[in-house]
Amino acid sequence: MSQDATEIRARVKQIIANVAGLDPARIGDEAKLRDELKLDSLSLLEIGVDVDLAFKLELPDEQYKEIDSIPDMVALVQSRLADTQPQAQHQAV
């Protein structure tokens, strides 16, 4: 199953919105997690767990700790999916 960047970003935003208690429509595509969305360490950890589950990434915590923005998270998801599902790559937009 392929997931293009738009789809991934939408799902990531939904997860972040859920943890932050915000309407996803009010989260910018470039939003910074700590500075703009004021997410604390516990919430960031929760987001990492939820993203890992949603996309079945099986990534270690360290990878999520460095993420501080939506584009970073989307890039992480895409790159991990590419590594684990190489056949999906040529279908990506």
Binding site: N18, V19, A20, G21, L22, L42, S43, L45, E46, V49, D52, L53
Partner: protein, 409 residues
């Protein structure tokens, strides 16, 4: 000179109302707080349909109505109920955010489980998905002092903060504990009471322990009683050192005159009754009054066959001849058994009675059993000029607590 403790506000989320005035009115009108449980499915739990299906569920409950737009995702139901009641109590007592930033307000919270639902769901998710995919936010809420911690963060409560568990006596013990803290000079102001949510795990546990009444509503003190109905909610008093309250011009609703507690290690009916009697005597002594000075009593009787009787026997023994016949109410006849929140409900409800002289009746009471030890229990709402009121609690596991409230000077 002992420091005096007064009540300068209250907040409540209950099956009948979300304000002290609303609660008092509903109780005096004899309203039922019981409804068909919707918070969780009951399939397979009620056997052939003769089991309990009703509880004092708070429905609807929209936390945003009380708490505004801040993120509630990290806050579970127990904490939401507590946060809402706390907001109301702080508003009513005039403890604004500005004042709280300058001076400390604490919190003494009674709860039995805090959120066994959160703890169990955290665990089950680990079983299903593995330990690396459990919820960190749920873990933070899986400690029994989580609600008290969440309330402190949300409302900026930097004073003494503690959680007390003593079964159905938790709420009154928290009020007693808060009173001790203020008298001892460890605090000048704090919220005291209890919080508990209705959830599947608690319901299942109580059902299997045989404590719940059947499909009908509970009947505290009635000869037909056969158990209680669970409930949920949060109820808090704002307790304050009297001179400090006067200095800031706060309105005073009541004074906490005394408290006492005891335990029954024998697990017998007599042992439990004696624990209640001792708790009451210690409270009266602490308040500097005798049983004959009491104008009204609110008991924790919930419909439990043995515990109701033990509480009645203990109370009767402590009241003796001079206090016999004092009007007694049992508000769990309308609110149900909210475990840690119950003592808070009793206290908040009694503020209403101290205010307008109406004591709610015991809904559903037709007659007590033959040799019932307590007179004074009434089915209908009564007019009683109350200067001094007694609140008692007896837990199913033998904890007894008594608190004496006085009308404001």
């Amino acid at each position: 000179m002992r420091r005096s403790v007064v009540v300068t506000g209250a907040g409540v989320l209950s099956p009948l109302a979300d304000s002290p005035a609303g609660l008092h009115a509903a109780l005096c009108a004899g309203e039922s707080g019981f409804k068909e449980i919707e918070l969780f499915p009951l399939d397979g739990l009620s056997g052939n349909g003769s089991g309990p299906r009703r509880a004092g569920e708070i429905r609807p409950f929209e936390p945003r109505d009380y708490l505004g737009e801040r993120n509630l995702r990290p806050i579970d139901r127990t904490s939401r109920l507590l946060l809402a009641a706390a907001q109301r109590a702080l508003d009513e007592s005039g403890w604004t955010p500005e004042l709280r930033a300058e001076r400390e307000v604490g919190l003494m919270l009674g709860t039995v489980f805090c959120s066994v639902k959160t703890i169990a769901e955290f665990d089950r998710r680990g079983l299903q998905l593995g330990p690396s995919h459990v919820s960190p936010l749920d873990f933070a809420n899986s400690v029994i002092n989580a609600a008290a911690g969440q309330a402190a963060i949300w409302h900026g409560l930097r004073g003494v903060n503690s959680t007390i568990s003593a079964g159905e006596a938790s709420g009154l013990l928290a009020i007693a504990g808060g009173t001790s803290q203020i008298r001892g000079g460890h605090a000048d102001a704090l919220l005291a009471g209890g919080a508990e949510e209705l959830c599947f795990e608690s319901f299942l546990g109580h059902l299997r322990a045989g404590r719940l009444c059947g499909p009908d509503d509970p009947l505290p003190f009635d000869a037909r009683r056969g158990g209680f109905a669970l409930a949920e909610g949060a109820a808090l008093l704002l307790l304050e050192e009297a001179a400090e309250a006067a200095a800031r011009g706060a309105r005073v609703f009541a004074e906490v005159l005394g408290h006492g507690s005891a335990f029954d290690p024998l697990e017998t009916a007599d042992g439990a009754a004696q624990a209640v009697a001792r708790a009451v005597r210690i409270a009266l002594d602490d308040a500097g009054i005798t049983s004959g000075d009491l104008d009204a009593v609110s008991v924790s009787a919930s419909g439990s066959v043995a515990v109701d009787r033990a509480e009645a026997a203990g109370l009767a023994a402590a009241l003796g001849a001079s206090g016999a016949g004092v009007p007694v109410t049992a508000i769990k006849s309308m609110l149900g058994e909210a475990l840690g929140a119950s003592g808070g409900f009793q206290a908040v409800a009694m503020l209403g009675t101290l205010g307008d002289g109406f004591l709610p009746g015991i809904r559903g009471l037709e007659r007590t059993e033959e040799d019932f030890p307590l007179t004074g229990a009434g089915a209908g709402t009564r007019r009683v000029a109350v200067r001094r009121a007694l609140l008692t609690a007896l837990s199913a596991d033998g904890h007894a607590c008594a608190v004496v409230l006085g009308a404001p000077q």
